[in-house]
């Protein structure tokens, strides 16, 4: 993530003079190239993914035209369809932000799935116990409970990384499975209604309002105020990253540990902070289902949203505001799978997502290489002088 840096003095790079005559001047990429560089992989990979979907649909005996028509009409063709897409994008915004925030500090949080599960269970537990409080207050207390639990679960890999150097990728994978087992234990021994894998309903005053209460076009849609919270979170994170000292320190940490040490940033503290905030955002992702849709916690409700958050953050290049459109796109694919289920298996859309993801990382890497070759000066070659005999 590049920061907007204010040019100091005359707007001249102080090193430029020093390097004159030694290093060839760097060529500046033009605007067209910058656009191509950042959006090219996104569009190309989407085209590739959908193209493959068309081929698979044909192989499975369905007409690609009918497939795309159904996909489009079901998702973007009606207010209800759009609201379903937005509903499915809501948790992805939260998990996308969670992954993006950690990525900004060069930490890879694969544990959003587990953090979301833990956060959801806490949210349902708190939501069911705060019936005595009035409406918005009870809701905010439940949200805080979810964020806190997710944050604690996210802090564990942060602390382990800071204190022992264990790689957060493996730790978060392991913690996902521990979280699933823990949630299963708490449900089966304490919190679930008899003969089910779900908790009791939360208090009415803790529920996020449905948007269908305000518009007839959304009748029956599960879309709720969780989406508004998600967008709010994206703006808040953007402001925090770009405008606060803590957010700035996180960016420096993302440049690398050497850079952070040189800048005097306490690496351990910011590693824990980044993972805790990331976990809290992932925990909040549960609000769409627990507080806004079903009003209880059900085992397996996360449904891969934590992992999809990685794809969302990748497409958004870790920029909080871009996470929103990126999540909407992946939400569209998720709901599209349900819509097109009669024509092709629902999982075809999972395959499409995988193909998009693979081609994106390949194309992005290739373009990075080309950019470096074209615009960065060749490294200065220092040839040792031959010793005079």
């Amino acid at each position: 993530m590049k920061l907007r840096r204010r040019r100091s003095g005359h707007g001249q790079d102080p090193l430029a003079g020093a390097l004159e005559g030694i290093a060839p001047p760097a060529r500046r990429p033009g605007l067209l190239w910058l656009v191509l560089r950042s959006l090219g992989p996104v569009f190309l990979s989407v085209v590739l993914g959908l193209g493959l979907a068309a081929i698979f649909a044909r192989l499975l005996g369905a007409s690609p035209a009918v497939f795309f028509e159904t996909l489009f009409a079901g998702t973007l063709g009606s207010a209800y369809g759009v609201s379903q897409v937005v509903f499915r994008a809501t948790p992805l915004i939260f998990t996308g932000l969670a992954v993006a925030l950690a990525f900004q500090a060069r930490l890879f949080n694969i544990g959003a799935e587990g953090q979301m599960a833990i956060g959801g269970l806490a949210m349902a537990f708190v939501g069911a116990s705060v019936g005595a409080l009035p409406f918005p207050l009870a809701m905010f207390v439940a949200l805080a409970g979810g964020a806190l639990a997710g944050g604690v679960w996210g802090a564990i890999p942060g602390v382990l990384k800071a204190r022992t150097g264990s790689h957060e990728v493996i730790v978060t994978i392991m913690l996902n499975f521990i979280a699933f087992a823990l949630v299963n234990y708490l449900l089966s021994r304490r919190l679930a209604l008899p003969e089910t894998v779900r908790t009791a309903e939360i208090a009415a005053s803790a529920q996020l309002p449905r948007l269908s209460e305000w518009s007839d076009a959304l009748r029956g849609s599960p879309l709720n105020a969780g989406f508004l919270l998600a967008v709010l979170a994206a703006f808040a994170l953007q402001a925090w990253s770009a405008r606060t000292p803590a957010g700035f320190s996180l960016q420096i940490l993302g440049e690398g540990p050497m850079q952070a040490r040189y800048a005097g940033i306490p690496i351990a503290r910011f590693t824990v902070l980044a993972m805790t905030l990331s976990g809290a955002l992932a925990g909040l992702a549960a609000c769409n289902f627990v507080l806004g849709y079903k009003h209880y916690f059900e085992e397996g409700f996360t449904a891969g949203a934590g992992f999809q958050g990685i794809a969302v953050a990748l497409f958004a290049r870790n920029r909080p505001l871009w996470v929103v459109p990126s999540a909407l796109f992946f939400g569209l694919l998720s709901y599209g799978g349900l819509v097109a289920n009669g024509i092709v298996p629902r999982e075809l859309l999972d395959v499409v997502q995988a193909v998009i993801l693979i081609s994106f990382i390949v194309l992005d890497r290739a373009l990075r290489r080309i950019t470096r070759r074209a615009f960065e000066p060749a490294p200065i070659q220092v040839t040792p002088q031959a010793e005079p005999a």
Binding site: L175, Y185, I361
Partner: protein
């Protein structure tokens, strides 16, 4: 008593075998410097390949070949993305797992018209070994060709990695690619062989699952690829160490099945592999040091 003990041992071995194979696969990939989170997807594809090959040909040996080939194919995709295109290894693995889960489910519906499971298949017939077959409880296992093959390849893997020039070069590919490149050995070829070997082993683990269960069911790998990753770490990136860790994990899982309800909550036994891995990673039990250049694409033009 002896009967019960032997039955317990047999069950531990049955549960550990696929973990062991997949974990040894992980060792080869990671020793060569390529993180392989795709083990889970390779396992699942191997299982599907085994079922498809067996049903299409009527011969479980063909099923074994097709299953291993499917594992190799998925591993080749991971290698192409991470070694040829130099893309991020963790992202590639995650995407490939998504691809394998979605893809096998689509194929299940397209070929067998079911959302959940394939028709029943026959497993490989036991070998007629006179003495072994008569051992109570263990006889079936010790005459199973797949089990014997698994033991054989795991032992060979240890020898290959630590006793041959190829193994030395493979380990160098993960520890010091620049030196390897400087010595004129092909890093690309070594990393490819590491990842393909992981496809071979994890594919075979998938074949094992399919043949034990006599069918393919949706998502049947059930996180075993990740347990294999854990075993690889606990086993400190050595084939025999990983196999031993798998026995430990297999024993925990067997206890979970066999202990009477309520003695120890099953969920806590489920957590054992992951908790042990965390403790090892944190350095509280021994110390696990991954290959030095694990996870980094090598680019000759980039400074270290």
């Amino acid at each position: 008593m002896i009967e019960t003990t032997l039955a317990f041992v047999a069950q531990v071995l049955r549960i550990s075998a696929p973990y062991g194979l997949a974990a040894v696969g992980g060792v080869f990939s990671e020793r060569a410097g390529v993180v392989n989170i795709a083990l889970e997807g390779i396992l699942l594809s191997g299982a599907f390949g085994a079922v498809y090959g067996t049903l299409a040909s009527g011969n479980p040996w063909i099923g074994l070949l097709v299953g291993v080939a499917a594992g190799l194919a998925v591993a080749a995709l991971h290698a192409a993305v991470t070694i040829f295109a130099r893309a991020d290894q963790i992202l590639s693995g995650l995407a490939i797992n998504l691809l394998a889960f979605g893809g096998t489910r689509c194929l299940l519906e397209a070929i067998y018209h079911s959302a959940s499971n394939s028709p029943r298949i026959d497993a490989l017939a036991p070998l007629p070994i006179p003495f072994l077959a008569s051992i109570p409880a263990l006889g079936d296992l010790l005459t199973s060709p797949l089990f014997l093959l698994a033991i054989l390849v795991i032992v060979l893997a240890q020898g290959l990695l630590f006793g041959t020039g190829f193994g030395l070069a493979l380990r160098a590919a993960g520890d010091g690619p620049r030196a390897l490149d400087g010595a004129g050995l092909s890093l690309t070829a070594l990393r490819w062989s590491g990842v393909l070997l992981s496809g071979f082993f994890a594919g075979m683990a998938g074949v094992w699952l399919a043949m034990e269960q006599h069918s393919f069911t949706d998502g049947m790998s059930g996180g075993r690829g990740y347990i294999a990753l854990a075993a690889m770490i606990v086993g400190k990136w050595s084939p025999l160490g990983a196999a031993l860790a798998c026995l430990l994990f297999g024993a925990a899982e067997t206890l979970q099945i066999r202990l009477p309800d309520g003695l120890v909550p099953a969920q806590f036994l489920q957590m054992i592999p992951y908790l042990v891995t965390l403790l090892v990673l944190a350095g509280w039990i021994g110390r696990a040091t991954p290959p030095a250049k694990l996870g980094e694409a090598y680019d000759r033009e980039e400074a270290e």
